[in-house]
């Protein structure tokens, strides 16, 4: 039977849904299930209980959650501040295709090296005997090496900025590039200075890109175990480490409860961000 090439076989939808439910939904369902079971003698028993959730709130795990969210939020904000002008410049500022291609190409370099080997470099730079402290002391800005440069929330934030820059830039670049030049010229022609055009035309139209950028940075950062482990040095416990330690002591239900809480918080944040950006995209808020 003839079928236009763009039309997908309905059987394809079915199998997609099936695969997706097994690969993504089933683990989540399992997680929720585990979190409401109880453990006795390191064994799961089929006895519904909310004990695991009490444990999460009672132990210091709640602080870990808040810290993880705070770090992810701070880094995401920094990424937005850095990536918006950069992506806008690549998409609309430069007319040279060579410059644009080079810049986008350079952004892929972080993917060539493993995250751990890229991150470990910061240790040398930020350490007590590292070049940064040496320069600061040489310039007389400080008399003693700064100890909060490494193994602190500061170093974790700093270390996260690099790896999560490209995932913020790419969707923003795409969103900016999709804005018709004529629309920007029309704004100028109607008397708008660049700042007005940015706030009332560019930003609302780039909202989908900003939303995608936030999802691609904020969400994976929540679960990132590498940077906090290497640059936190045991001082900055984040969620991934907390879950890992729970699993190590075979406390499956609390690990599951912590993950479920995290998932709920993420869904709530993304939902709120989505609703907000949809409103902004209609130009109501800006």
């Amino acid at each position: 039977m003839f079928r236009p090439p763009t039309q997908v076989d309905p059987k394809g939808h079915g199998s997609f849904v099936l695969i997706w439910s097994f690969a993504a939904l089933l683990p989540v369902v399992g997680l929720v299930l585990w979190s409401v079971l109880s453990m006795q003698n390191f064994r799961l028993v089929w006895e519904p209980s909310l004990q695991a959730y009490y444990d999460v709130l009672a132990s210091g795990r709640w602080e870990v959650t808040v810290r993880t969210l705070r770090i992810a939020a701070i880094v995401t904000l920094i990424e937005i501040v850095l990536a918006v002008p950069f992506a806008l410049w690549i998409a609309k500022g430069t007319r040279s295709i060579a410059v644009r291609t080079t810049c986008l190409g350079l952004l892929t370099i972080p993917f060539f090296l493993s995250l751990a080997s890229r991150t470990i470099v910061w240790r040398g730079i930020l350490g007590l005997n590292g070049p940064l402290n040496a320069v600061l002391m040489h310039l007389g800005i400080v008399d003693q090496p700064l100890d909060w440069l490494l193994f602190s929330e500061f170093s974790v934030v700093l270390g996260l900025i690099g790896p999560y820059f490209p995932p913020m830039v790419f969707p923003l670049f795409l969103a900016f590039a999709l804005i018709d030049d004529e629309v920007l010229e029309a704004s100028k022609d109607l008397g708008a200075p660049p700042s007005f055009t940015f706030l009332h035309v560019i930003l609302p139209l780039a909202m989908p890109g900003l939303g995608a950028g936030i999802v691609f940075t904020f969400v994976p950062m929540i679960g990132d175990p590498v940077v906090p482990a290497l640059l936190g040095g045991g001082n900055v416990i984040v969620l991934s480490a907390s879950v890992q330690s729970l699993l190590r002591i075979l406390n499956y239900t609390v690990a599951a409860a912590l993950s479920v809480l995290m998932l709920a918080i993420l869904v709530a944040i993304i939902g709120a961000a989505g609703a907000l950006s949809a409103r902004m995209a209609r130009g109501r808020l800006a």
Binding site: D180, E182, E185, A186, D189, A192, A281
Partner: protein
């Protein structure tokens, strides 16, 4: 009319005597614009009067859109002696601080705003109070017959409606000049003809100066008070639609204005009104369209329209008619008319026969008026 009323009323509502706009609203002297090595505009001078409909006509790449962008301020000229808009030199003033408005080729509407918000945009930039800008935008939408669509999404509009939103959005700011960049190019033919009439009515009723860019000679002829014909970054000829249609003064102008029959000839005799030329032994008369006057022996170009050619009768030719023998080469049915090509001593000549089902003879004599035959120098483009 809404415009003139508002000219006399200032922001706080007090009434002042409206300062009359100078008759000469735009003056451009010796404008040059280059992109790298490419000269887009080469020594262009033009002017426009208040309430005039001026058309920049030319093929793509002739520089007409660049010229419009420079008038809008979207492009700052490489070099210009003077660019005077409404009494002020604005050569270095960017678009957002120039009192002109542009209707873009693809309208450039804001996709995230509805119809009313699009029209309000320029007023919002100017910090006009919400109630007033709403009222002014609605009044302008009424003028373009879109008041019922005020809260419609831009994406849900037809091409013609988008066009009107773009017009309203520009006109609500009461610009000194409205610049239109091939605004009807994206519309289908029927709508284009309706919009031509509507644009013209709008321009007359607002008493505004329009500068209109198009590559369509038909559009230019229908709408303009004055046409500036552009080619390769220069204005090659300017005049009223009648001037441009009947007396193009160069090879480029003649072919662009649709003179299908063109051939070279040598001036035989310069008379008081008509000039006699010979081509391949055949003698014709025509009128001189270019500047200056030719001398006997000059090489000239001779052009006339296919719709002015007809089959000659049997008798002797009347005075003031050019006549030649021809044999049928081809006939092409075009619906409303026939395009017939005859082979003649001076090459193939086209005739437009308005009876689309006319019987065509193999060998005929065709004739056309000397007064409808134009002559201009052969050596110029």
């Amino acid at each position: 009319m809404g415009l003139n009323e508002r000219q006399m009323t200032t922001e706080d509502g007090s009434v002042e005597a409206a300062a009359p706009r100078p008759a000469r609203i735009l003056e451009v002297n010796r404008l040059v614009h280059t992109f790298g090595d490419f000269t887009a505009l080469n020594d262009v001078s033009l002017s426009a009067n208040s309430r005039e409909f001026v058309t920049l006509l030319g093929p793509s790449g002739s520089g007409k859109s660049t010229l419009l962008r420079i008038l809008a301020g979207l492009e700052l000229p490489t070099r210009v002696d003077a660019l005077i808009l409404d009494g002020h030199d604005v050569a270095d003033v960017p678009a957002n601080r120039r009192n002109v408005a542009t209707v873009f080729q693809h309208y450039g509407l804001f996709p995230h705003l509805n119809v009313l918000e699009n029209v309000e945009y320029g007023l919002r930039v100017r910090k006009v109070a919400k109630a007033e800008r709403r009222q002014r935008a609605l009044r302008m939408l009424e003028q373009v017959q879109l008041a019922d669509f005020a809260h419609r999404n831009i994406a849900k509009l037809s091409g013609g409606q988008k066009q009107r939103v773009a017009l309203a959005r520009s006109l609500v700011l009461e610009p000194v000049i409205l610049l239109l960049d091939e605004p009807l190019g994206a519309l289908d033919e029927k709508l284009r003809i309706d919009m031509q009439v509507e644009l013209l009515q709008l321009q007359r009723s607002l008493g505004m100066t329009f500068i209109y860019v198009t590559h369509s000679q038909e559009e230019a002829l229908t709408m303009s008070d004055r046409i500036l014909l552009m080619n390769q970054g220069r204005i090659v000829q300017e005049g009223t639609p009648e001037d441009m249609f009947d007396r193009p003064a160069s090879r480029f102008a003649a072919s662009f204005m649709g003179m299908e029959n063109m051939f070279e000839a040598v001036v035989a005799e310069v008379g008081p009104e008509t000039i006699t030329v010979t081509a391949d032994g055949v003698t014709f008369s025509g009128i001189w369209a270019a500047k200056g006057a030719p001398a006997a022996g000059d090489r000239v170009c001779c052009a006339f329209r296919s719709e002015k050619v007809r089959i000659a009768g049997d008798g002797a030719p009347e005075p003031g008619l050019n006549r030649i023998e021809g044999s049928l080469e081809s006939r092409i049915y075009k619906g409303k008319y026939l395009d017939i090509t005859y082979r003649t001593a001076i090459g193939p000549l086209r005739m437009r026969e308005w009876d689309a089902h006319a019987v065509t003879d193999e060998a005929v004599r065709i004739e056309w008026r000397a007064s409808q035959t134009i002559l201009f120098p052969a050596n110029e483009q």
